[in-house]
Symmetry: D3
Subunit: 322 residues, 6 copies
């Protein structure tokens, strides 16, 4: 592959400009993007956040920590950089001063990626960023989705009718036909509830909601087998909200809920998705101001490496050039 | 019920004055207290602390984080605010400059609550505050108690004979007849020991001490079934020291011990106490200076919501008004 | 006066619910608001922030620290609570999910305060919140303004034409006639510049811009005398951006600039404004996620007490009741 | 001199056990104490604290940072360790569970130091620890005192008559005849006031109170000359509350007040006290939980080195042995 | 035993000079060292660190937290201080400015301990410090080793041929004959890999590498039984890298890897090594700048107490004097 | 000029890859380097640090904060990017595992810059990195130097003869003929001293040492006029150790000394050096682990912008291309 990470045996891991996983950094207009199979992209925006903000700073902190990632997966032995051309394509355009304009800019950026056949691995940003990504990737036909999260994000509206917040992206995506609700599975849901309207609506549409207690009771293997069967070989999106993981492991997020997944569980669960027909993935809701230590971003980027290995071996991902 | 939390769909959760769980805030002399079934109360005092102080700041940080609590329990579906009138009755009077006077003030305050038939859910403060609470609630007859903690708090005295510290409350309460030791069970005990005199004394009195290793070996269901059988349908107090939970999850406390409960275990354990004849509960030893991030307080208030759901469905709790 | 802070000799300063300066907390519909002369109000909103967010959490942290304020000014001897009825009127309604709606809600809230003759002392929030406040207070005639800040906040637009950000409030307020630019003085301006268009526009309108170097060269007395002469006895608003103060003293803000005012200078400067015809004041841009220690909020609330003493002795402030 | 600090050219400054300034560490019963001229002593106690606790941890953090101190004063050229035998005599006995007993233990410990002719340089602890120290040192005749602080600490009582808090030590010491109020000068006083009763009482007794504004207006030289003239050549105690210094420089304290001294001012002021007849000194109110970075302790121990140089050249300090 | 920790019932745990576990602190030239059976020693050095430094500060923070350790093991009932004479022998000499000289100084120090028959329990420093310790302890015959870590530390060289880093100690120790690779077992290995050359080399030499997934799949009892069988009754060294434990529990380290051991697992695993023929042990890679809260050091020193109990009951440890 | 920073009106300042001041990022082998006049370069290395490490992380944190820099100097109006082609040339090669090799790599890198006529503005790293930079820039003839620092860095050796630490760079550079000591001025020196040998040696060589007290007594204008006269129009290097600035403003450094410069003083001092014949400059000793907030790096990069404006207007800096 033409794009390789800088080696830590040459340049120490804390040195140099922190592109994602020390990969080449390309602008969208760069000629070399023609060779890119998988793009790692930041979406530095938190305009959908109803509570504690800060995820706009997520991509930068994730990039910072990402220079500690080494190229080979310890269990599968996959080296995604030897299978696909992976590059850092920078941050999507955003607008911190306007929600609608921001959603348009993001959807536009991902539309360009899609038109070039580039599979995106995205770093949020709050969870509303998944909506314009799905709008681009699911423009032609609704996608399946595996969704790790403490919350359903299936609410209807906030503050008297406002429809676009990080509590509503998947309701919007289902309503707009970018997701097929019968092929959507949510895993790790927990925490106190308002009135359950989000859950009720999701169940009506056919969404499968697997609460954390069910994960614990049935075990990871059983749950993930079910998740695989729900999405089948459909084109599938994977959305990972960092708050799926317990705040002891990942405190830097805006809406933590206690009693979450351990990182060991999360890694095991994601690894069981190998071979799915993934068309894109994201890791969202890392909020650096709530964890300046970078520990949460370290969990986040470690999970993104897991997602990258899935994408690099997904049938849906192009392989342009060796 | 007349008292309802402010809705997060109207006022964002970070906004407004942080009363406990966004409930009405009443003074003890307020006429509306006549309708209160359950009072959430702070006891901002750490005069019994022998090591690292700071729990006097616990109630305020717990209130701050409590505005992220939503009204419905995700597993049982219980909405405590629709079952009972719950209010924030402010902080108990205390005295940071005198131990004996502080204990008197706290006991006096809880005596008033008891005389009005109000069930208290308290936020410490260090664990010595449980002593004057028990003095008020157990004034007529000794109570049973389920006690989550890393430490027995059954020591006799410190520093050459001083009897009132956060290592001694339950010895005092047993000696004074506010607790029936044969109906006391302690869960989660661990950490290095002085000479074991606290454990030996407790066992002699009939206290059941379940160490963390026993929890792990037998499993949660077995241990909690035993705990239920120990207290039976006796009037029971529930005291939850945040250090029962592992410091990775709850670092903001004065005497952490590694190898503790996860929050998932703690939630599961407390949920298994549903239906007991609870007359009060507390969550103590959250020390904000040792966790300015609020993560520990978030664990604490999340556990307090679990306790509140138990109290709201306890046969001992009044239901004054719909 | 009917409204007095809770005494720290009765209840320790860290105890109890943290209303502003331990004052009575009233809702806008509370009958007692009829007696209120000065309202302390939070505006928990940062939707105009172009860089680092978090000021939506400002009001709560300012309230938290405000319980350390004592009632008497150490130099003037003024006790504002014995001169006017001061109360905490809670937080203005906001909308974190929509800029325009948020501005409307805030302007509406302040319109009500104005219609009742209540002088507002506000706690931001980002600096865009000053715009709807000025819209309410300056609805009839343009106000004079004394403005402490590192930045002019006179920019035209961001991100391709977006007009409402925390870099534009005073341009909008001047354009809309809520401020009389010839009676506006900005003090403490500093930091690297884009192209100076903000400064140029301000100067054209007649705004007096006093950079930090001029403060240092001429001295505080001279500068503040000029500021007084600019506003004269006109109805005047005072806006204090915490970033006027050096980040060593007040790091918790989104756009810090080194080389700022010390707190000693800031106190001295504000004290020299005694007797002006003030109709309102605000303290904005305290961002708790960037200073969880509360040190910045302590500076902020200490300055708010200075502002409160000015308002309590302003000819424009009502005195309804002794 | 027999006692010398470990050299940083041999053992790095971060290494080894952190005794004060890397000096020999002796117990009170150690034979070598017979040679000690000046003892550096910790008083790890905060039982008099009415607001934010934590100064009990002060001595350990001050010792930790003290290993960065080098032996020679940069301006005067004084090397205190070549003039006097200085040792770390450990921590005074205390009792975190009882105020009266703690005061007795501390007074007893300092009585022993005094009976052996050892001059104490103490590290608090809260400011109430100065009271038992003065009780020991001023047992025969009232002392003069130079007192740096944001607060007068001349209050009468708290919480309904409680006489011993960190707001009352010097009132008690004056009442009990350990201090001669006409030879007491307080420097740096500032911050909001309750009702001024503390100041009024102090002025009646003849205490000279120099507020921060007066320091700024008159200049350091003038103020310190007056301070010297007040104490003259009387046996004098020097008490330095870290909150005399501005919280930007020393945030780790329980009752910060903005607008304080810079460290440059503080160093200059203390250096102007050279040659006074000092019989002891303390540095109090460093609260590590409110500054885990150690920055405040670094200010504190740097000021303690200034105090040590004063003590090492004071006519009142013995020189037992070369 | 002649050496006993200071009791927390006499002197509060936060008070006094923080020697390891409040034990007597002796210099190597102190006559009393003749009675020492087990020395706790710091190695404050991080010159082998290729990524994030700071472990040079480990020993001091570990000593600080160690004063919270009580003398009796809660499960085994072992009181190591009643079985052996344990003392704090200070810090090994080091050199932060030269790798080779530092390794020589450390090896020399441990050579002296060995020649006096003192069993060392060491606190790092980075993992390269294990190399000179093994050089001293394994000088005559290769040792067996049980090694807890996220990484193999079996790399050959860094940055173009540099052989001594914290990624290479055990390769060097095996090459130099201080370790018998067929009696070396590594437990907890995980994290992304470079190219697997370290693992391949280790396997070739006969090292047994047990990854975290294998621990989880087989269970602790099975894995530890195998570990015991590998070392048998050979003289064995135990090296515990704090990064074996998950960063949620122990974030203060230079090369964290998510998905690690919980502290409960780690305690259980170490306890299963009771009775082995241990000749020394270390706990390394605690980096205080990356966890100023001390939580990681608390985990570290708690594990060191587990190791101490193993050493105190090891057949290889002398018992000189009761 | 061909190289311009990304505009904050297009891409928010927190977004995108953080190259220095949002400039183009070029490798040394990139053809575009032929157009570079001034290179901003990181030297991520702290192998010379004798006390608290971490400055190896300085360049990355400085880059992170540098995206908040705007292009125009607020006082002089200089826009360095319109005067010279400025680019981020990445980090110098280093070796964290070997001091001598690291010094060689750095000197080699700077030799290449010099041979291409590129003026370097460097970000440390510890102060020893100035030595290999001076070795490259002063290879032909000794340079003059203006040196801001709390310490002289003129020590001879540490730990028994080790010559290369961050306390020795300028002694080595003078000895080796890279600096002309009679044209070296050190400003801001302060803090406790070992024995003064460093100062004595410097004075003997003709170095002018201006302590902080002299700065305060004489005033900035006088001191800086003298500094200018010392270096005259000689080719001059400017080295700025962040610890010249007081730790209240810049706590994130390894060897803080209280009583330092304010940022306002530092900016004023550096601005008075306009027009000197500068051939390079550095800003060193920012240690992110000791200030994760980034406040110190913000001071550091703000000072680097001041240095950049000096370099962009220095007669010694090329202007290759408009």
């Amino acid at each position: 592959m033409s794009f390789q990470p800088v080696s830590a045996f040459d340049l120490p891991r804390y040195a140099g400009l922190p592109s994602f996983m020390r990969l080449p950094y390309l602008g969208l207009d760069d000629a070399a993007t023609a060779e890119v199979d998988i793009a790692i992209v930041g979406v530095p925006w938190d305009g959908g956040t109803t509570n504690r903000p800060g995820t706009r700073h997520g991509p930068r902190q994730l990039r910072d920590l990402s220079t500690m990632i080494r190229p080979v997966h310890p269990v599968s032995g996959v080296n995604p950089f030897s299978l696909r051309n992976v590059a850092d394509l920078g941050d999507s355009p955003v607008n911190p001063a306007d929600v609608a304009d921001a959603l348009d800019r993001i959807a536009g950026f991902y539309g360009k990626l899609r038109s070039r056949g580039i599979t995106p691995l995205s770093a949020g940003g709050d969870h509303l960023v998944s909506y314009p990504i799905l709008k681009a990737l699911g423009a032609d036909a609704p996608l399946a989705m595996i969704h790790f999260d403490a919350h359903t994000d299936l609410f209807d509206s906030y503050f008297g009718g406002f429809k676009y917040t990080h509590g509503t992206p998947f309701r919007r995506a289902i309503e707009d036909g970018y997701l097929d609700p019968r092929r959507v599975v949510q895993i790790g849901i927990r925490g106190t509830m308002y009135d359950g309207a989000d859950v009720a609506w999701g169940l009506e549409q056919g969404v499968r909601i697997i609460r954390i207690e069910e994960v614990e009771d049935r075990g990871i293997d059983s749950v993930m087998a079910e998740a695989r069967s729900i999405v089948g070989d459909h084109p599938t999106y994977l959305s990972f909200d960092i708050d799926a993981i317990d705040p002891a492991f990942a405190p830097g997020t805006g809406t933590p809920e206690i009693g979450g997944l351990t990182t060991r569980e999360a890694q095991r669960m994601v690894r069981l998705l190998s071979g799915l027909n993934l068309v894109g993935a994201d890791l969202v809701e890392v909020s650096p101001p709530f964890d300046p230590s970078g520990g949460t971003a370290w969990v986040g980027i470690s999970m993104m490496f897991e997602l990258l290995c899935l994408l690099a071996t997904s049938p849906a991902t192009l392989r342009r050039k060796t």
